[in-house]
Amino acid sequence: MLDMCVLAVLNRGDSYGWQVIKDLGDVMEVSESTLYPVLRRLEAGNSVRTYEEPHNGRLRKYFHITNIGKQRLRDFQSEYGAIEKIYRFILDSIREGK
């Protein structure tokens, strides 16, 4: 799920570590130590690629979503119906339980 959230952020445009954390802040709390493994995992799986650009006398690493990453988002979208069904099942069980 976290992978999908990061991909969703990058699907809006290229971004860097701190900005991704801030953008995700609206939907979930993500720490730096949590984000790093996610970014590495996405990079290793070719879902994102990186490039560097100068910023205030230093290099900043940007993340760019690849076609594989976009395909993963589309796959998630197609699975959403099944996920929603599971959530509804659990919520119904909570509502009906004593």
């Binding site: 130590s33 790093y36 590495r40 995992r41 690493k61």
Partner: protein, 183 residues
């Protein structure tokens, strides 16, 4: 109070991961740029957790890469098998036919030797007991068969010898030539 430099050095010492160090270097700088003080940022970073997460994820990525490589390897083998099928299937068929032929020759040699012995024996018995010319014909036929088997056995033996000779020539002459070129 730990400074950014001290934090990064400790991180490098504990993980050896330069990507991780670069990530935190950038992240701390970004947060300081956004208005936080360096010491406040460092205070929020739990180095033990950072190291633990990094080690876990590195191990996971290594495992995934290894699995993917293995799958990829199998894929290449399947592709190779598919593309080489027009050549390998006839070759395998030819090998099978050759093995069957060799087996047939071996059975023929054993049968020929047995037949020769039987005919020779019958020829001797025929010569002594009934008719000399028929016995001679049978004996000569038996000897002829035994002779054929001996020639076939010699042929196989000479063939093996020639193959060994060929191997010896390849090993001694071609390798020497190769070593000289390399030297």
């Amino acid at each position: 109070m730990t400074t950014k430099k001290e934090f990064l050095i400790r991180l490098l010492d504990e993980t050896g991961d330069t990507h991780l160090v670069a990530y935190y270097d950038e992240l701390i700088s970004d947060r300081v740029e956004a208005g936080e003080s360096e010491s406040d940022v460092i205070k929020t970073l739990d180095i033990k957790r950072v190291v633990r997460n990094s080690e876990f994820e590195t191990a996971r990525i290594d495992l995934e890469t290894e699995t993917r490589d293995k799958r990829g390897g199998r894929g290449w083998v399947v592709l190779l098998m598919l593309f080489s099928a027009p050549v390998t299937i006839p070759l395998a068929f030819a090998l099978l036919i050759t093995l069957i032929s060799l087996f047939a020759v071996a059975i023929g040699m054993v049968g020929g030797a047995a037949g020769g012995l039987v005919m020779g024996g019958l020829g001797i018995v025929e010569m002594i007991r009934i008719s000399e010319p028929i016995g001679l014909i049978l004996l000569s036929s038996g000897l002829y068969l035994i002779g054929l088997v001996i020639i076939a056995v010699l042929g196989v033996w000479i063939g093996r010898l020639l193959i060994r000779l060929y191997g010896w020539i390849v090993v001694n002459f071609f390798r020497i030539g190769k070593n000289r070129r390399n030297a």
